[in-house]
Structure formats: C-alpha cells, structure tokens
Symmetry: C2
Amino acid sequence: MDLSERKLKILSAIIGDYVKTAEPVGSRTLSKKPELGYSPATIRNEMADLEELGYLTHPHTSAGRVPSDKAYRLYVNALMDKKELSREEKKLIAARLRGDVNEFEKTIEHAASLLSEITNLTSFAITPKQTDDVLKYINLLPVDEDTVILMIVSESGKVNNRAIKMSVPYTEENLKLLSKNMTYNYKGKTISQALTNNIIANFETDIIAMSGLAEDLMPNFMKTLEDMLNVNLYMEGLTNIFDIPEYSDVSKARHFIEMLSKKEEMTRKLIEREEGITISIGEENSEDELQDCSLITASYSIDGRLVGKIGVIGPTRMKYEEVTSIIEYLTDNLNNTFRLESGGKEEDE
Amino acid sequence: MDLSERKLKILSAIIGDYVKTAEPVGSRTLSKKPELGYSPATIRNEMADLEELGYLTHPHTSAGRVPSDKAYRLYVNALMDKKELSREEKKLIAARLRGDVNEFEKTIEHAASLLSEITNLTSFAITPKQTDDVLKYINLLPVDEDTVILMIVSESGKVNNRAIKMSVPYTEENLKLLSKNMTYNYKGKTISQALTNNIIANFETDIIAMSGLAEDLMPNFMKTLEDMLNVNLYMEGLTNIFDIPEYSDVSKARHFIEMLSKKEEMTRKLIEREEGITISIGEENSEDELQDCSLITASYSIDGRLVGKIGVIGPTRMKYEEVTSIIEYLTDNLNNTFRLESGGKEEDE
DNA sequence: GTTAGCACTCTTGGCAAATGAGTGCTAACA
DNA sequence: TGTTAGCACTCATTTGCCAAGAGTGCTAAC
C-alpha cells in the first residue's frame, strides 16, 4: 500500500526529529513544525495509521513515536535526498586524502580516521584482498651464510619479503637460478592461483640440482603469498559510541565495543558486503549484536581492480543522507587517488 | 615512622580484601579473619591510626576503609611476596609463546593477548625502537622501466622495502653500483647514525655519473630508515575494563578507553618507561586519566640488545603479586625466545 | 592494651505521591 | 468527509520520605 503524501511528510519529520534528539517524538512537537500545518489530533490519527503499517513504534502508551527499521528503510530508499557537501567539507576531504599510490595503506588509514571525524561515528576500512593481484617478480637475495631473503613483487606494486634461515648451504648462482625459475613459473599468475596450483612440479628438474634449497624455500614462499592476501582492518572513533545516548548503558556500549574489537569477524563481515554503497539497517543485519546498528559501507578500488571497503557503523538513528554523501565523496576521492596513472586529482566542481 | 607488625598485618588484610571485593572493608569483616584474632574495636583503633598516616581512606563516615595509593606502594615494595606460578600456568605461557625469531612481531602480539587473557586486564606491548639496529645490506632491484625497489636489511633480520618511481631512466649496472656503494657506506652504521650523519657526501663522486638516480633515491632511503624506527603498539583486552566495578560508570570507562586508543601517546608513554619490571600506582602516574589506574610494565629484549616493553593497565585495586609474577615469567620466556642463537627453550624447573 | 556497648552517621532500597508528556477517543466544526 | 478541540486515561519519571543496615568513634569497663 502506498502512503499518502501527508503520511510521508509526517514520517519524514518524525525521522528527522528523532535522529536529532533521540527522544520519542509526540504529536504536539510535530504540529509546531511550519511545514506540518496540522493540529496534534490530526497528526495523531496519521501516526496511529503509520504505526499499524509498521513504520512507527511506541515505547509505551504515553510516549511519542519512534521510527522502526522499516521506516528508515523507506526513508533511505525513497524519501531522503542526497545532500550536497559544502565546499569546505569537500576541500577538507580532498586535502586530507592526498596520498601516495605506493603508500595506500596509510592513505586508507587516514581516510578511515577522517571519516570518523566528520561523521562522529565509528569508522573502519579494509585494504583489498589481493586475490587477483598478479605476481610479477620473485627474487632471492643472499644475506648471510645461512640467511636468504625471499621477495615477491606484484603488479599492484606490493612488495612482500621474508628472511629465511637455510638449513643447507647455497651459492649465489643457485639463488639466481631459482629466482629466475620461480619468476618464470609464477609471473602472470594471480596470488590465489599461485597458492592453489602447486607449480612446484614444474621446476622439479632444475631443483634436483639444488636439493635442500627448495625445501627450505617453498613453505616460506607459500607463507609469504598468504601474507600478501592478508587484509588489514583499520578502525577509528571507537569511543564516539559513548556520545550516543542509546549507548549510555554500559552493557550496551560494552557489547558494541566487544563486537568491533573482534578483528577477524569484522574483516570477514566487510569483505562479504556488496560493492558500491550499501546500507544495512538494524535487523537487516544478521548479527545479533548489530540489531540496533546501521552500517553504511562503500567500496573503493585501486586501479579499478582491487577492491577494498570503507564505512561507518552507528545507531539506526543516524543521519543517513549526510553520512552517505560523505562516504560517496570520500570513495570517489580514493578511487581517484588510486588510479595508477598516478593520483591525478581534478574532481567535479 | 615504621608501622607495627600488627598494623602491617591489618593493612595487608584490608588490601587483600579490597582487591577481591572492591568494597570498602570494615572492622567486623577483618576481625573474622583467622589470622587477625582481634576484636572489631581493636582493629578500628588501628585503622584510625592507619588513616591518619595516609594509608587508608574513608569514602564516608559510615563506610569501611579503602587502601590509598600509598598503601599499595608500601604493599608492593615491602609486603607482598612473589607468587610462584603454578605448573599449569607456566606450561600455558610457554606453549603459547613458541615463536619464530623472524616473526617476532607476531610473537609479541600473541604475548600481549596471552597476558590480557591470564590477567583479565588490558594489556599492551611495543616492539623495540630499533635505533641501535645495525644496517647490514642495501639493495636496489629493478622492477619496471620506471620502478625500482629499495630494500634495507638490518642485523636483527628486519627487512624493509619500498617501491620507488624513478623520474629518470636507469640501468641495472647503475643500480648494482649504487647498491654496492650504499652498502659499503652504511654497513655497520646504526639506523639512527644513518639518519643523522648524512653520508651522501661520501659517494658524491660516483653519483655524478648517475645524476638523477640518487635524487629519486635518497629521500626514499631516509623515509625507509624512518619506517624501520617505527614502533608497533599492540593492545588486547580493552573490554576487560568493563568487568571492573570501578568502571561501570560510562564516563569513566569512556575516559579509559579514549586514553588507551591514543596510539601515539601510549607508545610514547611505554617507551619512556624504565626497563625491568616497573610498577606505577595511581597518582604516581603523571597523566590525569591514569590517576586511578596502575601500570605494570616489563621490558623484553631481542638478542639482549633491542628492548621492547610489555605490560598491563588496570585499576589500582589490582592483584599486584600475581600480575607481576606473570609478567616476569612471560618476559623471561620472551627473552629466551628472542635470543638469536635461535630460540632454545629450557627454563628453570 | 583490649574489648564491649552504644549513640551517631551515612548510604541504600523501597514505596507512594506528584508530575507531566502523550495518547486515544468522542463530539463538534467547516 | 476531513479536521480539530477537549478530556479522560496511561505510564514513565521524579521527588520525598522512611526504614534498614553497615560501619564508625568514643567511652567505660575489663
């Protein structure tokens, strides 16, 4: 059933007010708003209807109305209009995000902290899972009599390395040969391909000559590849939660912080999210702990391929349009910075 | 003025009880303890004396006594006896700490998380500031036509690298020459020496031939050296604070978490701490936010040289002897693991 | 020096009354 | 037929008050 123009207006006003005050909003308060020229009684009637339809709830008989998750959903889908950021906000974001493509981890961390600062919510970001990152170059370097450094470079410019204690002596020639061989075998493969298809069989022949070397090497090679797949999680503004009246109850705040402190779970949750801007409201979240939180996430990409996520978490009572606009602008900026042609930056306006 | 045997006994009992219950302890409760065979009245007299001397306080007239920071200090210095860990605890710690010298960061992270688990407090650890780590090896590797990887290896086995976009073309020969030259110039220098004495003048002659190369390189070299000095901070068990009755007040918990979330400050604070086991109680801490917290930290070292810190933070009402023993045993274990001869492990008992 | 006794203080919990915000419903009005 | 005023009713919150209980300080007796 479609809601009448007036119902939508009232619902919108209730949401607006409740988001600001965190107090159930009553008919009197609403009737005072200039855009709603109705008497409290009329509004009460409409509110009763809206409640029946599931858009409002009632903490108790003599309290005002509170928007339900369904109301927020409607609001987000249909009612809210995108908020254009002010010139200052845009400038602030752009200025704080100037970064180096080769230090994108730092840039992401900055972005998360900026996001939490602007929204006054808890923000988080993950770096891309580089599953599809392509290997470019593998090198073994001598350090000690018994130490060798394994170094793996990917197309995206990521460099990982690891010092390996060798159990058998090696020669520089051997290392060079092995480096070449490995590069030859793995170059062009994605990290996940390299991890699954065990290409070792492929260079068995050469290896015979170097016996123990490969045995020391391969487990470390695999470990390093796994390291490269590691996703980093950044989180900022955890204590912003304390500014939100809903969480002035210690046990609630505790739950919130406890959940967010579980890095693996949060990372997984973020990875699983769809790309683009995604809003999930209250009970739309599967986790019990998130039943009265909303998440807004967006994806950013590096050179248009590797995809990371950034977003905020807060109470369902949140300034959806504002936060969404901020995140959108922020990710646009990130995408721009991370375009490998090298972070040019001329945006709209 | 020295306290009488009996006063010490009473004080000790008060501390013991208060640490357990977090409730002010009264004379009746104390007189019931078998080791204190005095009537409530006697104990009251002694308590009045102790209060006058500053060892006890009184939340209000009709409440029991609470130990002051001065009392805890006395307790820690003179009264408490070291608690020997149980065989199980020792086993647990030893088992969980088996680590690889080359992955000491992970080991430290584990140690912090273990510490917080055992003590039910918030724990943290910092990796050593590698100021005195000695450079061993510098290498420049070609990747692209315009990308070069700079790699720095230190004696402690740390490997740092950085991809550098070159603004001028290079040849492999040039890179090799430069690598050799830099290694020659920096090998044996500590990181801080390398950062301060600008040795660039030293190889000016060769550089002339490679003009732009060094200009692209040197800023990145310096940045990478700075990266190597970065200290990582690990923190675990933040939410343990919520189990402590003193922090059931939201604003207190908030302050606590806010302070601990400031990574730079916490890192600095830890770096500044003295080596060995250090206990600072309540107002002995300079920071306002720590006035009712105690910190217990200890230092661990890698190969007996590079020194990191690990510790816990909790309310002044803390099981000092237990926590101290745990930290001591833990750092012994860490030191052992990080002895470069390669983590042998046979401990006392 | 130790202890029993007692008056006194102060916190805590429970209870009841007052307050007030807001509703739902009915009846009147345009 | 839609809108509004009026009024009784509900329920959370605040306030004040009282009783109970824990613990002290002091005095006097042992």
